[in-house]
């Protein structure tokens, strides 16, 4: 635990109260998770609503909204776009995930510089900060694919290449702990302390179970988190330097994980410990 519960964490607890008030004890992590599943009680919805306002607002040096951003299904088409990311984009000649594409649009349509956008990527849960604009925007775009099947395209050679590199990186041991992603996520039924891990390399169902619920509201952070944050967090735990937002390594890993999670029905925003 990182200290006292923040207001948002308390809000989450209060919203869960009906489930807890029935008198049954929550004995296992699964029961705890089940109690978190009331979608309308997910505090992440507030962040999604803020993301929608930001998305439609005229912002930046070019005083433009993001409504003409093309997430792969044409300018302004958000429905189902996240379910088919990462994908290859002709205009940037590279594979982009949700958050990378968002940066591209904020630079091209709104005139922000990448440097100013990257100054503050993630809200700091220790300082009780609200989610950043980037986190809110990404969540809003992602939620437009809620209920759809994860189906990242593998038609373009660069999409296949990105996924293949991601698989190699998933198994690459690096850093002072000698860990790779597969150290924790390469065997069935393992856990760290009490946290279940999931075998994303060997067990497609495990990959689907995870990939269908991101972006997710993390109760322990009191914040909505996206895949860029999840992978930064993993590499921080591996005692590596900060991995860059939208960097090729992160996009490759997301390409691999999204392909492993293919077919999962998205349930977002998710909610987790």
């Amino acid at each position: 635990m990182r200290g006292a519960l923040s207001c948002r964490q308390l809000a989450g607890v209060v919203l869960l109260a009906p489930a807890l008030a029935l008198g049954q004890e929550l004995k296992t992590a699964d029961e705890y998770r089940a109690a978190l599943q009331d979608k309308f009680a997910n505090p992440g919805n507030l962040v999604v609503e803020r993301g929608e306002r930001l998305f439609k607002e005229k912002r930046g040096p070019k005083n433009a909204s993001l409504e003409q951003c093309d997430f792969g299904k044409g300018p302004g088409v958000l429905k189902g776009a996240f379910a088919e990311l990462p994908r290859y984009f002709k205009d940037t000649d590279r594979v982009e995930d949700l958050e990378s594409r968002l940066l591209t649009c904020m630079v091209r349509l709104q005139g922000f510089t990448p440097e100013e956008l990257k100054k503050k990527l993630f809200a700091d849960q220790r300082a009780n900060e609200p989610n950043t604009d980037l986190e809110a925007l990404a969540a809003y775009v992602a939620v437009q694919s809620d209920g759809m099947k994860l189906n990242p395209p593998m038609k373009h050679p660069k999409e296949r290449e990105m996924r293949a590199v991601g698989e190699v990186l998933f198994h690459t041991r690096i850093g002072p702990m000698d860990f790779s992603c597969s150290t924790c996520h390469g065997q069935d039924g393992k856990r760290i302390r009490l946290q279940e891990l999931g075998n994303y390399a060997g067990n497609r169902a495990d990959a689907q179970k995870t990939m269908r619920t991101w972006p997710t509201y993390r109760v322990s952070h009191g914040l909505l988190r996206n895949m860029q944050h999840r992978l930064w967090d993993c590499m921080w735990q591996m005692r590596l330097p900060d991995v860059d937002y939208g960097s090729p390594m992160v996009v490759a890993l997301i390409s691999y994980l999204a392909d492993r999670g293919r077919g999962a029905v998205l349930d977002i925003p998710g909610i987790k410990r």
Partner: protein, 219 residues
């Protein structure tokens, strides 16, 4: 454990022929050198330099390179080379006492802080008084009263009670923690001593926690 992992993975791959068939005709066998080269390039391009960062952590030594090349299943000859190279790295505490203070070992076994860097959330120095923790509970059970243990590594509950604390067992336990790859090439466990996570004296304290008859691990 490693053999079991191979078998499990092999079985999983055999049962799901489509699992790795992102590109038609591509198979899992043999890492494509072009893809390997791209992976190395991506690592080089993806981490932030500057204050609070440490890009030297991205360097892979010969052992990690070999483990990565063979996805932790090195052929016998390579495994023997790794064992010999890693054995040569082992250093012992001054005075040679390999069984230290089990009470301090108990703290180190549980403590998980240390060595987290970067500008977003580096470890606060005050949480690391006395050095890094070993974070052993993340992966290994030990004290029967501690229920929050991970399962990536084998349970070490009753470690000393089952094995005794002979000189050989003390030495083996110390060396296994200092550098597990001296015994098992490409072991999933961090090289706690060699990589500078724990100091020799701290490892000796953890050895005592595992082997001492007074330790809760053996109650």
């Amino acid at each position: 454990m490693d053999a079991l992992k191979t078998a499990t993975l092999a079985l999983a791959l055999a049962l799901t022929p489509a699992a790795h068939a992102a590109g038609k005709g591509k198979t899992q066998a043999g890492p494509d050198p072009k893809i390997q080269a791209l992976a190395a390039k991506f690592i080089e391009q993806s981490f932030l330099p500057g204050e609070g960062q440490d890009l030297s952590r991205l360097q892979q030594d010969d052992t990690l390179k070999a483990c990565n090349q063979y996805r932790d299943q090195p052929p016998e000859k390579v495994a023997a080379e790794i064992n010999a190279r890693e054995r040569a790295t082992i250093k012992y505490p001054e005075g040679g006492k390999l069984m230290g203070d089990w009470k301090n070992g108990e703290k180190l076994y549980a403590a998980g802080f240390g060595m987290r860097i970067g500008r977003i959330e580096p470890d606060r120095p005050e949480r690391q008084k006395g050095g890094n923790g070993g974070n052993c509970y993340a992966c290994h059970a030990a004290d029967p009263k501690e229920v929050a243990f991970g399962t990536i590594g084998p349970s070490l509950m009753h470690y000393g009670k089952l094995r005794g604390a002979s000189e050989e067992m003390v030495k083996y336990t110390y060396e296994k923690i200092y550098n597990p790859q001296a015994y098992t090439a490409c072991s999933q466990m961090p090289r706690m001593g060699h990589n500078g996570i724990l100091r020799p004296e701290q490892i000796a304290d953890i050895v005592a926690y595992l082997l001492s008859p007074e330790s809760p691990v053996n109650k």
